[in-house]
Symmetry: C2
Subunit: 470 residues, 2 copies
Amino acid sequence: MEIHSDYSSLATTLRTRRQRLAEKIAFPVILWSGGSSSRNFPANHYPFRASSHFLYFAGLPLKNAAIFLDGGRLELFMDEDSAENALWHGEMPKREEIAQIIGADAAFPLSALPTRATGAATIALQDASTYQQQADILNRSVTPSYTPEGIDRDLAKAIASVRLCHDTGAISELRQAAAVTIEAHKAGMAAAKTAKQEATVRGAMEGVIIAHNLTCAYTSIVTVHGEVLHNNQYHHPIQPGDLLLADVGAETPMGWAADVTRTYPTTGEFSSTQRDLYDLVLVAHDACIDKIRPNVEYQDIHLLAAEVIAQGLVDLGILRGQAADLVAIDAHALFFPHGIGHLLGLDVHDMEDLGDLAGYEEGRERSDRFGLGFLRLNRPLQAGMLVTIEPGFYQVPAILNNPELRSKYQDVVNWDKLAQFSDVRGIRIEDDVLVTTAGGEVLTAGLPTDAQTIEELVKLGGRGIGVNLT
Amino acid sequence: MEIHSDYSSLATTLRTRRQRLAEKIAFPVILWSGGSSSRNFPANHYPFRASSHFLYFAGLPLKNAAIFLDGGRLELFMDEDSAENALWHGEMPKREEIAQIIGADAAFPLSALPTRATGAATIALQDASTYQQQADILNRSVTPSYTPEGIDRDLAKAIASVRLCHDTGAISELRQAAAVTIEAHKAGMAAAKTAKQEATVRGAMEGVIIAHNLTCAYTSIVTVHGEVLHNNQYHHPIQPGDLLLADVGAETPMGWAADVTRTYPTTGEFSSTQRDLYDLVLVAHDACIDKIRPNVEYQDIHLLAAEVIAQGLVDLGILRGQAADLVAIDAHALFFPHGIGHLLGLDVHDMEDLGDLAGYEEGRERSDRFGLGFLRLNRPLQAGMLVTIEPGFYQVPAILNNPELRSKYQDVVNWDKLAQFSDVRGIRIEDDVLVTTAGGEVLTAGLPTDAQTIEELVKLGGRGIGVNLT
């Protein structure tokens, strides 16, 4: 880990977070940061990513560390580096130095951690060796925090309520992630016109993120096959007339994420059918963002997107009927089969390690409706929440060729008309929107969405953008 | 995984490998490919990397698959994709299609795997959930293969002997990894002159690797602090007079690696002290490569590097005495504290998951000498082995400020003279060399090593190189 920024306000930010947690629970807490995962052999590691819950309260991506929280008090548990480690990895900051930066009340070696175990709650980690350590030290089984009861679940609920709305420290990090993500997307647009393969565009985008010393918050999607929703292949050739969908987001060293999608014609010119559908998705995108303010139900924003898309498809002759009726029977989901977005913060799907505990208001559960089941967030919005807004239009073979769905929606889809739009496989437009009392503030507004500017950025081929990867 | 290349010769290559293994063992084998590791929450994955032993015999990076090998026969065990998976990740190739590509004799769902468990040997995987699955299906504890005895160790020894020397299929992949790595390093040199931070150079280099749809074989080292041997920080500013050390290698989609280091002045001009030490490391590098041929002991190549470096430091007035005497007391290791290199193949430290079983000839063990203990390969070379040659000169504070070492080597180091070379913190020059009957073939020879050409590449700032990241 790196100690190099100005951390003057970090301890204060973290103390406030800890205090807010202490007000919600009456038991002690141990949060582990986790260790590195090996990539095939022990000495070859994936880049270390600390647990988000640890990061939220301890601020720094310390490896193999733990914090003990009790009534706002913080104790740090970590071992100093060995001499051999200093030879290979350089001198690391000392435990006491780190303790001061994060405002710890005391600091101890890891061996002292078991003395704090009695009655402590925790959140289970994903990496198996830390998970085992958690069970060993707490001397009980540790289960995922979306299990029905117990202090671990109470802790998860308390942490979720604290982390739902972002403080100024978090928002500053989220703005930094958004700024670098915008630059990465511009580099991608610049590279698209001459790129012969999807990977070339991905290289241009991720190169910018790495060059800023940030990481990718998730596995990038950079594809001419946007109809594959989580497409992680990059080998397809880019051909004239292709739309390229790029869903790429940066993450700051302290772990805060951005999540942005743009879709553009690789030639720099939308066809008229592509433009029609792009503009429709953009209308839905803008309408949803306009609706964002505290107390609005996020599911209503999803349904608004569904209705706008359904109406647009009626206007284009692809669907038949009234928009509201089409949404009621989930016909929109034939072409927009995912949710309008999700929470964003330290995780790109923020707190998804807690299942739906953060995303769903207490007492609510996932719908089994085709057009609602993939919605990851179902709460009234509050000021300080950061959400994505990401409507899309896709022609997914697994949906449109499904005999059951074809039969169910036979009368509302004009299949011949749809066939005229075959040069659109997938379009998504995604921005990161902070809920404020004045409405939605788009943190990623520096990246254009309108078709004409997008076309111009692609046509520029990098000139005036500062990045050129050939 | 992607099915898109020409795999016409793959099945033949794999059959030959399986036949070679079958000649060495008399028991059946199950090799698992492994699963994805989660990055903080379950749906966020690190990029999947299949086990190298699986890749060697099954050829393709299949996730959650296993192969059963018995007397040259191969059975593939994997599940078909679910319908939901097809929606999110696209249609994957069918089991039968994959079986044909890799030349499997039969293919079954994973649920059939336990029927093959009796008496089968395996190699333990790093990811905990697969490791657990291995123990469950084999109904016994699975231990690392460098444990003293048993069929798992016999299997590991057999696999190591098969994998030590590369076949033409492997060499073709290794050449591809080398070629892209060369391009990445040129892009780094091009970016160095205007870069203000290490991360900028890293972004330029990794951007090229990603753009070619390859991955990084290991965590890149791109630093002005080359004296930190495994430096994985990239935030340091690049200042006039800095040498930048870049140790970056690409890995092909089938898993074959390159591992290359270059060190260059970020201004495009070595100082005279930097040039003196650079040229010394280069002399050692060239001398070692010249010595490579079958039957030469790799440890002798290491000792040659040590002696060349010791002699050079005597000539520069940094060390006092006779080179051979200095090496005998490990004085070279004050400045060259690691081994001259290692095996390279599917892993960047090939087969290091087997401990020293592949790297060390049977009956040999690591030395406890300061100047030999970090040597990762100690065998007579054979045609078809790929090794790195990577001499270096470093001023490591943890070594040079160690009171015990300072006292031991007080008389042989001219500390005042050394102080004149303070603008050299770390230099390493590393290439990938294939052992052939005619001598060493440098797969990475397309990347210059001589100081003058390196200076020119940096000064060009990207012109004529085809990559420009500003």
